[in-house]
Symmetry: C2
Subunit: 351 residues, 2 copies
Amino acid sequence: GTSYRIASIPGDGIGVDVTVEARKVLDRVAASHDFSLSWTEFDWSCERYAKTGSMMPADGIEQLSAFDGLFLGAVGFPGVPDHVSLWGLLIPVRRAFSQYVNLRPVRLLPGTTSALAGRGAEELEMVIVRENSEGEYSEIGGRHNRGMENEFVLQESVFTRVGVERIIRYAFALAKTRTGRVCSATKSNGLIHSMPFWDEIFAEISAEYPDVHAEQCHVDALAARMVQAPDRLDVVVASNLFGDILSDLAAAVTGGLGMAASGNINPTGELPSMFEAVHGSAPDIAGQGIANPVAQILAGAMLLDHLGETVAAQDVRAAVEKVLEEGAVQTPDLGGKSTTAELGSAVVAAL
Amino acid sequence: GTSYRIASIPGDGIGVDVTVEARKVLDRVAASHDFSLSWTEFDWSCERYAKTGSMMPADGIEQLSAFDGLFLGAVGFPGVPDHVSLWGLLIPVRRAFSQYVNLRPVRLLPGTTSALAGRGAEELEMVIVRENSEGEYSEIGGRHNRGMENEFVLQESVFTRVGVERIIRYAFALAKTRTGRVCSATKSNGLIHSMPFWDEIFAEISAEYPDVHAEQCHVDALAARMVQAPDRLDVVVASNLFGDILSDLAAAVTGGLGMAASGNINPTGELPSMFEAVHGSAPDIAGQGIANPVAQILAGAMLLDHLGETVAAQDVRAAVEKVLEEGAVQTPDLGGKSTTAELGSAVVAAL
Ligand SMILES: CC(C)[C@H](C(=O)O)[C@@H](O)C(=O)O
Ligand SMILES: CC(C)[C@H](C(=O)O)[C@@H](O)C(=O)O
């Protein structure tokens, strides 16, 4: 069968703990579907930064470019400022490989309950399509009059026509394969340059998809709606920052961050895509064997989908659901006493 | 007794409906506390814009400057773009009068239930201190290469030392009068110019308040926390945009937007402050007599607090709570069939 070359970057903290388990699951499902995963492991992390002064080597992007897929744990460690760790690894990879879609499916898994009163799985099924290459996360800006009374900082957001069109078009195409509904997050009343531009392009693209129901909602009201009426949402398309906030919120409303996977996707397939859990490195519980590996395992399923191994991906999701539904093996965040490895092994056994 | 000069700007849609009721309540409580409110009404609104091309007259700010307090309904109307209506009235007032604090208390009122499973009033008591004069809402920016393939928009956020220091200091001072806990919303990992500056000033000011527990949280994680662990939050201090999102979310988590009041406050008292409901003008239900006036009435209580009439303010809040607790008079959003005016009158009767 086919062999896929996968770069694994466990990173820091629980990123390492959960990646081990996800790999166990992925190797097992590959074996029964006649393909194999050839892993290359990279120690790029805050630990590496502490030793060498950089998160990854100078030719890091080049090293990754030949892989069929990238599998990231999490990065971040006390003592290394976030903006160093992220702009030294995660964000450069997203950008160098034009992974302009950050896809974050959200649903309530069996055996888990929503934080919202009286909401079940059928009302909590959405996907956040987050712009992942530009917008509010920008290197442009700076600090003036440092230390003086009239000190100030400028931070530029950058929205390009190319960037906005492609993410919105992706969201509409995705909606056609689902319920046919797209909601765009805006804030054109406050952010009077960037968001009216976003809205204008949203209106243009929506005209190309007359059979998709398009609506827009200010991000503040949309956050409220995720809590008060999440059932009316399906595909939510949002800028980099808004998508970041809304996807954490959506994860919280459903099973929590321990369950949420994401893909940093280059839809052309010309450059590698990267799959990761939405959660961070959680240094406070790292190495204790108590982290929930489900998000990382589901990120693995997204990787398989991306490789075209959709049946295997579906098997992984089904195995996870079976284990959660049975409820015999649960990490502490799920209310149980099982370890990270026990949950990983239970999913392997369920396959 | 004292007479306070209050400017009332009902605005559009349900802003008009709810302001009438709030004024009934305020006049009634004033009468029994030996002060009076002398109202001047302004028709500034989108309706005015449609007729005259401007939301308020050219000397609007000057006209308001002599008042002891400003009472705003809501602005916004279909056909008038939000950025026109808001930057033509709400935002200029906030800025011209240095109303740099947007104070948004959040709690679960009696007779209402949280959208969150298993959360009661004691776990849902917080206040969002939102920066209200600068930050992400800025006029600086523009559009380049219009209509071309390489078109892009820049949107500048502006954070000044003066602006950040004063809002954070306000939050710490407020925390001293409450539980002694402040949580700052950041996103220094994504917004690498503005938010590290915000965090640095937060650390400086927190050193001035050794008895206040200071923590910071990325805005995405904080949104999740409002849903998963709101009980650990009290004073939340946030930038203009983050405060906007978090306060809508906090309102949704508690009784909903029909209950949330806010004050645009100039803490020096040299220029007038403005009080309003957090909700918008809801044109779809305007004029039908079904809007919930509670948020606007509670905004009136905040106005009274600001005028120094704290006992009267407390009476208004108690009357609202009594009516909600009894549950006999409820607008449709609360599950009842009463009208806006009936709920207003019930609060008057409870006084
Ligand atoms: C209408 C809009 C500009 C405004 C804001 O975001 O400031 C509103 O949402 C609010 O929260 O007061
Ligand atoms: C760590 C941070 C920069 C990152 C982001 O906001 O992109 C994370 O929160 C995420 O959601 O992937």
